[in-house]
């Protein structure tokens, strides 16, 4: 058919086609990512192997050695029941690293779906739901979470669901505006001209293009989720005596700050801070790499 047509488009080995650097290569080239990822990896190892790598039994009470300052035997000192603070910090990583990522995942999945629908489907639905979302955002999140926590009771599952639902409108709002930007591009009408249905438009055409936004939103929210889980424990929700918990330990320790027992508060607090900073570093560098 086209044999008769001679056209020299590809005569020259195309220098215009560029090799792409894989995203992970670019990430590993950034010191911020490497440092953040290393810190995060440390806490993940603690969460998985906590009891195995902790030097002491995190639950064992030594009533003869309470409130001891940091020493060679107890690097972070002991608490008011004589338990090893270092071991409790290591073992305490588990609950927070289960609840926070799962809650963020729930919020991201629901929020992305809602944001796609709001951004793509025009008109009245968007206006109505967006006002509701704004109303939710007007209240401090921790108040809403506490209300739900009181009403539903606190277990690992309810914490995941409550935090996830609170994040949903927040993430939806970000995704919605990213979807609206995509809607300005010509590939959207081009796909509509093929007769694509709304579901395919949203999930096959648009979603892959807003995935960078979704990923960044996930990492940013993950930091907030960790903070929220710790805050709930600090306020006395979700406490299970059988597992060490950073928030609970801070709550127990900070009443003793006046007595000079600073180590019982400082080290769990540093643990929370370092985890959030690690996630922040990973989030920032991921965002920069995805933005090109």
């Amino acid at each position: 058919m086209s044999d008769t047509l001679v056209m020299p488009a590809g005569v020259v080995p195309s220098t215009a086609e560029q090799r792409e650097q894989p995203v992970w290569r670019l990430l590993l080239g950034r010191p911020t990512f490497v440092i953040g990822a290393a810190m995060l990896l440390f806490w993940i190892i603690c969460a998985i192997f906590g009891t195995a790598i902790a030097p002491h039994n995190a639950l064992a009470q030594q009533l003869l050695a309470t409130n001891k300052p940091p020493s060679a035997a107890h690097w972070f000192g002991t608490d008011q029941l004589g338990r090893d603070v270092f071991s409790r910090v290591i073992v305490g990583a588990r609950s927070i690293l289960i609840i926070a990522p799962l809650a963020t995942l729930v919020g991201t999945v629901l929020g992305t779906a809602l944001g796609l629908a709001l951004g793509y489907l025009p008109g009245i639905v968007d206006t109505l739901v967006s006002r509701v979302v704004e109303a939710v955002l007007a209240l401090p999140a921790i108040i809403i979470i506490l209300l739900f926590a009181v009403a539903l009771g606190v277990s690992t599952l309810t914490q995941i669901l409550i935090i996830g639902f609170i994040f949903t409108p927040l993430i939806a709002r970000t995704v919605r505006s990213a979807v609206q930007v995509e809607g300005q591009l010509d590939y959207v009408p081009a796909a509509r001209l093929l007769g694509e249905r709304p579901g395919r438009m949203m999930f096959v055409e648009i979603l892959p293009n807003v995935m960078p936004t979704v990923l960044v939103e996930f990492t940013v929210r993950l930091g907030y989720a960790i903070f929220t889980v710790a805050a709930l424990a600090f306020l006395g929700f979700g406490v299970q005596l059988s597992t060490p918990n950073w928030g609970t330990d801070i709550k127990a320790g900070y009443v003793l700050l006046g007595a000079g027992y600073w180590w019982e508060t400082l080290f769990p607090a540093l643990a929370i801070a370092s985890l959030i900073i690690a996630i922040g570093l990973v989030a920032d560098s991921t965002e920069q790499v995805l933005a090109g």
Partner: protein
């Protein structure tokens, strides 16, 4: 503040005739830890009061030259070799204060986007006056001088314009203000970097006239940068052609364009449809291959991979710049063989079958479109009647805001028209919205958008992009799908290895080929081409136009071809519709519309386009701005700018009907056709 010590130029005696002297300039940009050469061994001279043009495609380094001259290179860019002299002074050796002084007094720049060059928060008058205040003039006098300067750039009511903010100005008006600011300091060098690329043709013509007029008045040398050869030909005494960072040819503008001595210049000129060339006269001669990526190291001549006459020595060692005549240089070993360069593209390509006349495939009746709610409504289209014949190419021409794109989107069903509009396809009425059209109707019409970056889903591979219409519209699967995919790939001249790539791994021309393949995949009978080549470089544009012509010959499709480039429309179209403020002003066979007699608006559009061939068209200019579609003029909407308005007052009071003035040629004008013929032929006489 310390006083600025001016290191005065050696004086007029030393170099009386030179404003700018650039010698062996290398500029490199550091990207990911590697230096990439953006300019290589560039030498040129701009004489006093001379207008020097730099022409080249994207990535050729045109703007880098301008930035290097004023030391405005980005942080990762640096001059790695060579020297620059502006009015005898060396900007590369200057400290911050001297550099500021140079930029304030000696060199001014005008960029492509006037909107970005003005501070949006400061009134226009203050911004222009600031130039004088910096030179030590008091506020009241500075304001007076600013007003005089705005009058000089032909702003008719400078007092009122000075009170406005930049966003309240049209693009043409804003560019005049920028030019006023640039010449206010009476620089010895004025750099214009694509100053009219963002403007409509009629406005571009006015701005170019203005710059040409100012040149004779001012004591200023000009460095004019553009990708548009015709604009350079019109504006410049001498021209340098840049290709991939090298100045490959230089000389007096007329000579370079009439008798180019480098194969690249020859190729570039052949890419442009000229002297009324049409698709049935044969294909354009495209340059094969692609521009090299910036910083790519080549042993030999940088153009050798795309050159039709390259020899072994061209690939082995880069040629020096040879003197090829008085003031002319060419960086080509074979500069004496450029006169009879072989064609890259055969002429005898299949022609589209002639359309059977009087058999419209699409009929649009009384199509209107009003945007916005009551009160603030803008009528983008006002009762357009248009029939498109089977197998023809209908060109749609008009300035921005004329309703070209809206018309196309309504036809496709992407935008619903106002109630009362009807569109028929093969005599069957089409739904106003995509959702009201059947899959079979969707299959009939597709579009090639202007910008393939936007039109292709950047997360999908080429395979996925091209196969989707085959699956969805043509209903293919399995072996049939694979066969048709290969077929389609061949006909847009892509290769199998492209299938796994994503859009951003392809060059602009390749991306547009993918977009074209996608549009043709479902086997449409009508394809809308909305400025399909305006985002592409000249050398790539020709190949895409040839491809569109080939596909039409093969698939018998009907084109609705939208473009602001009249040369392209003329090359590709069988009939042309000229739109102004949402109304058809003229409709007829392409040759009739171009050769005249034509509607005064068409006449103005045609005379606004600078021509490479130096032929003098009737020089009528439109004055004033395009009126707002929210508040269109009474009577004939064109009367406010019409140079041939009748004195009887009928143009202001009554809208002329679109009437047939000769067989197949319709016009909306009160002036009788005989009178138009006389008027227009008189002016074409020398």
């Amino acid at each position: 503040m310390t006083a600025i010590v001016r290191t005065d130029a050696p004086g007029p005696a030393a170099e009386p005739q030179t404003a700018v002297q650039v010698e062996h300039l290398d500029v490199s940009y550091r990207v990911r830890g590697r230096d990439r050469l953006a300019l290589r061994d560039v030498s040129f001279r701009i004489g006093r009061n001379e207008s020097y043009g730099l022409v080249g495609e994207s990535g050729s380094g045109k703007s880098t030259v301008a930035l290097a001259l004023t030391r405005y290179l980005a942080r990762n860019g640096r001059v790695s070799a060579g020297s620059i002299r502006i009015a005898g002074r060396d900007p590369l050796a200057m400290n911050a204060a001297e550099l500021r002084d140079l930029r304030a007094r000696e060199v001014s720049m005008v960029y492509q986007e006037p909107g970005k060059a003005l501070n949006p928060a400061i009134r226009v008058g203050r911004q222009v006056a600031e130039v004088y205040e910096l030179a030590g003039v008091g506020r009241p006098e500075a304001m007076e001088r600013a007003e005089a300067m705005l009058r000089k750039v032909q702003i008719s009511d400078p007092g009122r314009v000075m009170q406005r903010y930049p966003h309240e100005l049209s693009g043409g008006m804003a560019q005049r203000v920028v030019i006023a600011m640039a010449i206010a300091a009476e620089p010895s060098l004025l750099i214009l970097d694509e100053p009219t690329t963002a403007l409509d043709a009629t406005v571009e013509a006015e701005v170019l006239d203005l710059v040409a007029g100012l040149r004779t008045e001012l004591d200023t040398s000009l460095l004019f940068i553009s990708h548009n050869l015709a604009v350079i030909a019109k504006m410049c005494d001498r021209v340098g052609v840049l290709y991939a960072g090298e100045l490959i040819e230089e000389g007096p503008a007329r000579q370079v364009f009439d008798e180019p001595r480098h194969p690249y210049t020859v190729g570039l000129l052949r890419c442009i449809p000229r002297q009324g060339q049409r698709k049935d006269h044969g294909r354009l001669d495209a340059i094969p291959g692609f521009l090299p990526t910036p910083g790519q190291a080549l042993a030999g001549c940088i153009f050798a991979p795309r050159c039709p006459i390259a020899e072994q020595r061209c690939r082995d060692a880069a040629p020096e710049a040879f003197d090829v005549g008085p003031g002319r240089r060419s960086r080509c070993y074979l500069h004496d063989r450029t006169g009879d360069l072989p064609r890259n593209t055969p002429v005898d390509l299949p022609l589209p079958a002639t359309a059977e006349p009087a058999n419209p495939i699409v009929v649009m009746r009384n199509v209107s479109k009003t945007f916005g709610a009551a009160g603030e409504s803008v009528q983008a289209l006002a009762g357009v009647n248009l029939a498109i014949d089977r197998g023809e190419t209908l060109g749609l021409v008009g300035e921005s805001g004329s309703g070209k794109t809206t018309l196309a989107r309504i036809l496709l069903g992407l935008v619903p028209p106002d109630a009362g509009s009807t569109i028929e396809l093969d005599g069957q009425q089409l739904g106003s919205d995509l959702r009201k059209r059947s899959q079979a109707q969707l299959k009939e019409m597709q579009i090639v958008f202007q910008n393939p970056d936007s039109a292709l889903n950047r997360r999908h591979t080429v395979r996925r992009l091209i196969s989707r219409p085959l699956v969805k519209l043509a209903g293919l699967s399995g072996a049939a799908l694979r066969e048709r995919l290969t077929d389609l790939l061949r006909s847009v001249r892509l290769e199998d290895r492209h299938l796994t790539l994503r859009p951003r791994q392809l060059s602009g021309g390749l991306k547009q080929r993918v977009a074209i393949a996608r549009a043709f995949g479902g086997g449409p009978r009508i394809v809308v081409c909305d400025e399909p080549t305006s985002a592409l470089d000249v050398s790539v544009q020709a190949a895409i136009l040839n491809l569109l012509a080939d596909l039409q010959a093969k698939e018998q499709v009907t084109y609705l071809f939208i473009s602001h480039d009249l040369g392209l429309v003329r090359y590709l179209s069988d009939r042309i519709a000229v739109l102004y403020l949402g109304r058809i002003m003229e409709l007829g066979p392409a040759e009739r519309v171009f050769s005249g007699p034509h509607h005064p608006y068409t006449e103005a559009l045609l005379s606004a386009v600078p021509s490479l061939d130096g032929e003098r068209r009737g020089r009528i200019r439109l004055s004033g701005e395009i009126p707002s579609a929210a508040n269109p003029p009474t009577g004939c909407v064109f009367h406010t700018r019409c140079p041939r308005r009748l004195s009887s007052g009928i143009c202001e009071s009554t809208e002329p009907p679109l009437a047939e003035v000769e067989p197949g040629h319709l016009m909306s004008c009160h002036i009788p056709i005989d009178q138009l013929t006389t008027l227009q032929s008189n002016e074409r006489m020398p």
